[in-house]
Symmetry: D2
Subunit: 362 residues, 4 copies
């Protein structure tokens, strides 16, 4: 049951990096929406590999085929929507030595503990970042339902290799601000920061090294009152799903870890009657969530991504069959930094979780 999340909107992801196909089933989409498939593909293209020097050379058309869930004329019909993506550019020979020599800081070792020699090691199997392609499909579909309700989700690279992007405006977060980074070839707010990040990534590649980073994601237009107290609030479900994206090591909301170093008098967000006569907060350290429940202010969160573990420089590992220390040099195609491609993945997960809450409460 590892690959399923959601309550009324249920997402079930399947596939391995080199299986015949990968895909997703979305159960619980409301009937009656004409899906814009081109928009879905544009969204998925943001995650697709092979675009730039900072991503893997693997090329996948990633054209999803929708198997079910639509009427003959393309509207959601209430039945589960299943989409599959064929794996066409899989070079399985690259991975043979990894069966015995687990990559440091990769799931190779724990998958071996769990599944023994039956783990499908090719391309990382079910643990591959490639599984985020169907996740992006599902997220892009969810986005269309959210947009129709005036809810918009967007993200950008907040940091890579120590270089910071400008943050989103936590109080006045507009649809335009949310969607602009995603419309760029490199999803940042501040172009200069983006240029510096790209150079840092290229430098890491030259050094046979890799970089981590942070993605900031926001959602505007989320109505107040979504979420439940204690264990079923927005943070609980968002965090649980976000940690499903490979390489995420931390999730924080609003001021997050910085809040831990603040005083209450700094951190507290004063309430006020806003311009439209609605209750707003004048600052938004709470990231749009109080007690697990949306406050009506923009939702803001950040995810930390670790550096790609697959390096083409020698690393120390062990031989599982010989139980002795070994050196490993990973062959194959790997992103020196997954963060640019992770941006739409974070958006997708956030959109899916928000839609799950919305279909549950409507």
């Amino acid at each position: 049951m590892s690959s399923t999340f959601g309550h009324k909107l249920k997402i079930s992801v399947f596939g391995q990096s080199h299986s015949p196909a990968i895909g997703v089933t979305i159960d619980g989409l409301p009937a009656g929406r004409l899906l814009d498939l081109e928009q879905i593909q544009r969204f998925m293209a943001r995650r697709a590999p092979g675009k730039a020097p900072y991503s893997t050379a693997r090329k996948e058309a990633d054209l999803p085929e929708i198997l079910s869930g639509l009427t003959a004329d393309g509207y959601t019909c209430g039945a589960p929507l299943c989409a599959l993506i064929r794996n066409t550019d899989a070079r399985s020979k690259d991975y043979s030595q990894l069966q015995d020599l687990p990559r440091p800081s990769h799931a190779d070792f724990t998958a071996f503990v769990k599944y023994g020699r039956y783990h499908d090691i090719r391309g990382g199997g079910h643990f591959s970042g490639r599984l985020t392609a169907p996740l992006c499909f599902a997220g892009a579909a969810a986005m269309q339902f959210l947009n129709a309700q005036g809810i918009f989700v967007g993200a950008h690279i907040a940091a890579v290799g120590g270089i910071q992007d400008s943050p989103f405006d936590s109080v006045r977060l507009t649809q335009e601000q949310l969607l602009t980074p995603g419309s760029k070839e490199f999803p940042v707010v501040d172009e200069a920061a983006g240029q510096a990040m790209k150079e840092r990534i290229e430098e890491a590649r030259r050094n046979q090294d890799s970089l981590g980073g942070v993605v900031e994601c926001g959602a505007a237009g989320v109505p107040a009152g979504l979420g439940e107290p204690m264990f079923d609030g927005l943070e609980n479900r968002l965090a649980a799903a976000l940690f499903g994206i490979p390489a995420v090591r931390g999730v924080e909301f609003g001021a997050g870890f910085a809040a831990a170093a603040m005083q209450g008098s700094q951190h507290n967000d004063p309430f006020a009657i806003g311009e439209e006569g609605k209750i707003v907060s004048l600052t938004n350290n709470h990231g749009g969530i109080l007690g697990g429940i949306s406050s009506g202010m923009p939702i803001l969160l950040r995810c930390a991504f670790k550096p790609t573990p697959s390096l083409s420089r020698p690393q120390q590992t062990v031989s599982l069959s010989q139980m002795e220390n070994r050196s490993l040099t990973v062959e194959g195609r790997h992103d020196p930094c997954v963060v640019p491609r992770a941006v739409p993945c974070v958006e997708a997960v956030v959109a899916l979780v928000l839609l799950d809450f919305i279909v549950q409460s409507v």
Copy 2:
């Protein structure tokens, strides 16, 4: 369904700060363990208020009564274990004005949006930190099952008000190191840091202000192979449950957000054959979890807590009935810093989630 978590081990928390009682039902505990009730009470005492200048003056005996789940001679019998704690020192008059004037950065406002005037505002109702008392009961019970399998969970204050404690040893984390902070009146590794933190908290109290902080939690002895890939791994479930503790704003595993600024060559943890002939990693930036699955190395995570929002200095808020701006000065008893009392809460949640995985896989 807000107050329930767990899969095979199901935790269901009930109660409001000023309802007749609060409590917890634990469904799925294995039969046959003689529960050490004194140990449970010692654990709960670590969370109890009224101990020190840095905590609320509210006094609760917090003696749990076990209603079900044990045999006549005190062994778990396989049926749900329910424990309740009476609310005896509830001063409901303190909270009357909050019905109309929501505290900044508190759940008062979102609870009003969700439940209208029927939200039980007294003491924060179901959103109160007091609900962590039954959580600690459940966690302490879970701990006894874990200890019997050689698994130990402990936490300490990693930071308060900008002062850092020494971290746990991420590679050689012993039972003694884990349990020592919890045995102290102020749960830190480094006494000097603890002394400085206490002074900072006392200073905040004098300034009618509050402080946030960070709790680091570790688990030693967790066998490799617990957890599932993608959405049902250790991080997913741990994070989901940890965000159920009031005031948690961020959760990170291993190197966490620091990993985002590292290079792969720094962050990767080399594998090696350890002293006992088992596979270990020489560093532990992965915090004992790879691909959602335990690696056999110590599990390490940190939670960020925001500063207590209830301040006895004037703050700006709104009148819900008049829809106009107002000033609010919160009366009543509130911790200037919840972090010391949050330490056992984090341990409790981690213990419950780990036991849930263990009963599921045994």
Copy 3:
């Protein structure tokens, strides 16, 4: 997780027959309803033992204490509602021999397999019919939410010992017809049939024997459109919960097993425009459910109950410690027929499942 059901409305039952208390937590009740506690007690009295010659002599006041979930003035507040009932008339000595000699057709044996000697055998432990008391509490609370929406649930003894009661009118099922049997001391539609059933039960008691029976339950006013296709329809969830009542051996909807012997031309229910201009069916063999989804017609189902397994005549069993055949004569107080007291239990479960669907779709 055995003792929990429901999706958005989550019911968690705890307690053993002879533990200090039994009880229930209901998570997900909408805020804002003034609970009528007297109505709840009247409902629970219908299940209570000791009323008549055909029920066990055990006497329980069964006065529930509400621990949480209400505001100071008795309205539901949105937080989990927990109610407990103290066990006061427990005679544990009656059950000592059963630890070694499992009663035929009782859970004693399977509980031993599962929990070993730690099963709380006293009074049947968690498997006792006594656990239906908190279930009735929860059902009675749910009923008040349903009634406010014009939905009424009622049941009667459809058969005992081969004697049939008149069935409910499947097409024109009124609130009055639903609630009348429950207002009687013996819940039947046809008094003469009831008299004959009572005599048959008394006869069984004299013969140190027991009887099974059938309960028919109906619900009127259920809006069309509740339920989901395939595995999450009304039948799926109703059946799953109804089998949680001890002694239920079969569940059928509408024409049920009789449908298996019918022809389509007999069984099909013609649609027509009804008197109020709404679509109705002229017959109701479908029991108000088509494809798992409510049709707007009355919902009708039947549950088969097996005869009470505890007999005070000698029966053949085995000694678990000696692994040899033995004769067992069960001491203690047992209903010769649980069906009269099962009637409100069936109503309670049906009410809870219907309310779960309703809070999920509103």
Copy 4:
């Protein structure tokens, strides 16, 4: 979330009768089993249409394509197994009038209530019996895991049109007895009864009518101790899943509804030390389940199926657009009796639920 069931073994069915494909994702299969695909296909062939005069003329090759979940050499790898079946012989024009004229006793009407004009009416959409094809795929895969543990599941037509087959031997139920009916072209125990049933079905077809029936299913080799008390026992989960098969109207275990007319002294199953020194019961009215938990005796259950609602004779219905009474004659291909093809569907569901319990407890 309608189309998903299971706890640790999660089954997610997708597709509509006339969508590009139907299929199933099975999450939670243990790694390391070489799947016998021919055996799966033989099992699926038992459900496939077009074999005989008593089934629909629609022809589907129903060759499943496995998209994921296997290693390169055909072993389960621990990742979700997804299989799809293309819809190739879909004649969508047959169904156009049903958009406005719902078939009596069919889900057309309730699907309209739920999804409006966006319900995919073609072939019954997601409510079609065709969705049992992927269910049979999943069940056949599950069967191989069960068989490897000495557990066998089999079913037969217990009754059609009032004609009864011989029942399974409830006490000595062998693998051979279980599997024999499924190896026949018409799955009965008693050939003569089967011949009479076939004639009755052919007679119904000639009369433009249809028949219901009963399927009995058994499982041998199930270890004692599977299942949980109250709401998570074998009956709860089996019934919930079995009602997911279209046309099921009742589910009973062991003596079932017949138990309701029995006396305790007849119904109780005496325990004894069996030939192999194990505890057995001398009769099996309890159907292998006591208190929700398997007793080690054969598991026995029966499902009632209603007659096919689609008749080619005129029936009364309404026009949804005109809200007036109308006559409807259903065109297209429909089984006069679904029961023969339902036999493997019942086996599949029982196998999946049993395997779910087993992977959860191992």
